[in-house]
């Protein structure tokens, strides 16, 4: 299972990387979103997979699945949401003011 | 009608206090409630209105209609999907309803949507005309027209 998931993570990361290397801002944002998915899966995979029960004491008996990565991912999910929200708004504000969503056109004025 | 319900609650409460148990038990209250239902059913004519659980019954009936319509329609659509020679004639037709008010219209629309082979696409702004997409317009139109009175009646039983 771990190998399977890590392979999946690798595919997600590759896709994310390709998207991030795009010119279009939406592709880039989607790339970061996909990357965050991959990262969350990775954190979970780094705690041992499928070993133990749901970490609810009243629900199941020991052994429990590693709860710490789960808590970390929860935090990470919320943070990636916050970041995605911000960057989306930034993207469209930029589009409104600068008039392009193409990063090649957002190079900026050269000095000298 | 709410008066009936409040009364029922009161009976249940009375029942619980009469029992005078050490602690508050949900089961006691529930049994009191059932007793209340029985009493009120016997006495509802004194209120001059319908027995309030009658409406509950019609709701349950409506739900059964829902379920059976859904079952039938899913079987139908399965047949249509699995039919190797697919030669249906889809289309959009209209239906004007007698029903009034948001709840009635909504319920009817949902029922129609779950009816075999038809999906309500639009309701006109006045709220009395449905535009319905049919999987096979000839057959669906017939189905809808056949069952629609039944639906309207079932709905009105609940709402009016």
């Amino acid at each position: 299972m771990e190998t399977l998931i890590i392979t999946l993570i690798g595919i997600l990361v590759a896709v994310a990387t390709y998207l991030i290397l795009s010119r279009n801002i939406i592709r880039i944002i989607l790339g970061t979103a996909v990357f965050s998915h991959a990262v969350h899966l990775l954190i979970l995979t780094m705690g041992d997979l499928k070993q133990g029960n749901v970490p609810l004491l009243k629900e199941a008996d020991a052994p429990y699945a590693d709860a710490l990565p789960q808590a970390l991912i929860l935090t990470a999910i919320v943070i990636s949401f916050a970041v995605t929200a911000f960057i989306l708004v930034l993207a469209y504000r930029t589009y409104q003011d600068v008039g392009t969503d193409d990063l090649d056109e957002l190079r900026g004025a050269k000095d000298e | 009608m709410p008066a009936q319900f409040l009364l029922n609650l009161f009976i249940a409460f009375l029942w619980t206090t009469l029992k005078d148990e050490d602690e508050l038990k949900m089961t006691t209250f529930f049994s009191g409630f059932i007793v209340g239902i029985f009493i009120i059913f016997l006495m509802h004519r004194f209120f001059g209105t319908q027995f309030y659980l009658r409406r509950l019954l019609s709701i349950i009936k409506l739900i059964f209609i829902f379920i059976s319509e859904l079952a039938q329609s899913s079987i139908l659509i399965s047949k249509q999907i699995l039919n190797p020679r697919w030669d249906l004639k889809p289309g959009i037709f209209t239906y004007r309803t007698e029903l009034k008010g948001d709840w009635e219209i909504t319920t009817l629309a949902m029922l129609l949507t779950l009816t075999p082979g038809s999906v309500v696409m639009e309701v006109n702004p006045e709220g009395d005309m449905f535009y319905i997409h049919a999987m096979d317009i000839e057959q669906s139109k017939a189905d809808v027209l056949r069952s629609i009175t039944k639906f309207e009646k079932a709905i009105m039983e609940v709402t009016r």
Binding site: L56, V89, Y92, Q96 | D102, I105, E122, V123, P125
Partner: protein, 141 residues
């Protein structure tokens, strides 16, 4: 022909209440079953989002006259100030306490300072989500 959203509005009215109830449940039950401030807050926020989706901004504003960024701010204040409380009591920052009480109606109930903390979290989540969504929606038209 104008769009008639009667079906959506009607169903949403029911659904919103289910979601709200469920959200509160999730918020309160997080200590022992899945849920908690975050998830509760998220679900509550989705209920409000559903309100916006099924009606419109003005309608919601009328029936829910809250400034959501202040909701969020109060949430953060709540979440941080439980930590601050422990400074006052001279225990390590963020120390949470919990105890069991026998309350009428609720029975044996656990009351913890975590609940205040989580309430703060939930309020923030609701406030922020709605603020973001409203800000974007209200922009430009």
């Amino acid at each position: 022909m104008k769009i008639n959203d009667v079906i959506l509005r009607t169903i949403s009215r029911i659904v919103v209440f289910i979601i709200l109830t469920f959200g509160v449940y999730l918020f309160l039950s997080g200590h022992n079953t899945p849920g908690g401030g975050f998830i509760g807050g998220l679900v509550l926020a989705s209920a409000i989002v559903l309100l916006y989706l099924s009606t419109d901004i003005e309608t919601v504003k009328k029936s829910l006259p809250l400034d959501f960024k202040y909701v969020a701010a109060i949430g953060v204040l709540l979440a941080t100030s439980t930590g601050f409380g422990s400074i006052v009591f001279g225990v390590p920052f963020m120390s949470q306490t919990f105890a069991y009480f026998d309350l009428p109606v609720f029975g044996k109930t656990e009351l913890t300072t975590v609940t205040i903390f989580e309430a703060g979290v939930a309020l923030t989540v609701v406030g922020v989500l709605v603020t973001i969504i409203l800000s974007i929606s209200e922009d430009g038209g």
